[in-house]
Symmetry: C2
Subunit: 217 residues, 2 copies
DNA sequence: GCAAGTATGTTGTTAAACCAACGGAGTAAA
DNA sequence: TTTACTCCGTTGGTTTAACAACATACTTGC
């Protein structure tokens, strides 16, 4: 396995924390690493959970179990990504989703109460950790708000225009990092219908585009 | 004006904080009260803002200024409600929305850095304040996630069924606190079309309802 | 270059939401 | 009781998305 710091240094939770402080924090809050085989359950829906998880290697699937017994994938998480922090911070101790190892993987667990409580040695990095956690939640919040703004639009055209408006800088030109399939999934519309709408918008003189390069007119 | 503590004690930020600690905190973090006349600008989009606001009396409107010059209301906030915390925590110092006094009002401002920084006397209540802020953001997060789950559904029927599934307890029966207009707004569908769909769902034997009392079958 | 596969755009059909307009039930005030 | 108003359901016409099926690049490995 790569160095843990190398894996996690770009995770929002550790922004601004150097390698020495990083390892000090890990020991200070009693972090634990556990290994799972593909298919193992990391958290089972309803479990009492007081930890957040960080994927060090492999991949996990976060699933929602519906009332009718069906379950669907909410998201898949890769190396360096975090899960469980929203439930931990929200004070929900029985986690309402199931987390499965999609591949053999290693997970670093941090106890939530130890993250937010000041440690015995009351190290200064706790403050940074907490600040990062606040930032992380708030930024996710903003992201979700933007997504809701988009999904509140009724038509594909409106959703595209709002999405473009959020993407573009001061100039009207920008490149998007998604293919049509992914873009359609984000906007919750059908791919081919979206393609058709894009063409119509171009014909109507609203936009110009070529592959992933767009221009608002 | 009523006692500030009375107004704010039920705000999530102050959960678990008693009246003495409350006033200690206010002085400790240098809270300020400002008054506004109806129509006054509290925050202007683009302003450098490092404070969160709490409505003590009156009402404010949070507006988004679109690129085309139009502006639309994102939300209205009443007594005891908070604004600006998401931007503050996300590290966005230039607030991207405009806040207007919809009526004459009084706002309590708290400096964000003083909320999260430990104070000179390093009082214990900061910890609680921070924990509350984390909880507040995380819970909003969960709420937004649920909303996105609903809006991701393509049809009115699917949105209704998911909404009902989230509302209902163990029994299939529940009462909703919204009228049809409000429900339609939440689900981002058209009121009359939703009414029609509800009728069809009843005819199809999926649900029973009478006014705001629903039953999943 | 060729074949296979992937991504994107096009078209016509079907199903569904939107929209406007209206009717009926319930409520509250005059 | 009458009037006005609000809320909710219904209906028919219009618009639009979903869907399936296909066409057209573009890419990649051989």
């Amino acid at each position: 396995m790569k160095d843990i710091f190398e894996i996690l240094k770009n995770n929002s939770l550790f922004i601004g924390i150097g390698i020495e402080d990083f390892y000090k924090i890990l020991s200070c809050i009693g972090a634990q690493i556990k290994s799972y085989r593909r298919g193992d359950v990391v958290f089972f829906s309803g479990n009492l959970v007081s930890e957040v998880g960080l994927v060090l290697s492999g991949r996990v699937k976060v699933m929602r179990e519906a009332a009718d017994g069906n379950s669907n994938i909410l998201t898949e998480l890769y190396e360096s990504e975090m899960f469980g922090e929203t439930f931990a911070c929200a004070g929900i101790d029985h986690i309402p989703v199931t987390v499965l190892a999609a591949e053999d993987c290693e997970i670093l667990f941090l106890n939530y109460r130890k993250i937010i409580g000041t440690c015995a040695s009351s190290c200064a990095f706790h403050t940074k950790l907490i600040e990062n956690m606040l930032m992380l939640l708030a930024q996710k919040n903003l992201f979700l708000n933007r997504k809701i703004e988009i999904l509140s639009k009724r038509s594909t055209r409106e959703r595209l225009l709002l999405f473009f408006d959020l993407q573009r800088g001061v100039s009207g030109k920008f490149t998007i990092p998604y293919n049509r399939e992914e873009l359609a999934a984000m906007l919750c519309v059908e791919r081919s219908a979206m393609s058709a709408e894009l063409s119509r918008m171009q014909a109507d003189g609203l936009i110009r585009f070529q592959k992933n390069e767009f221009e608002l007119l």
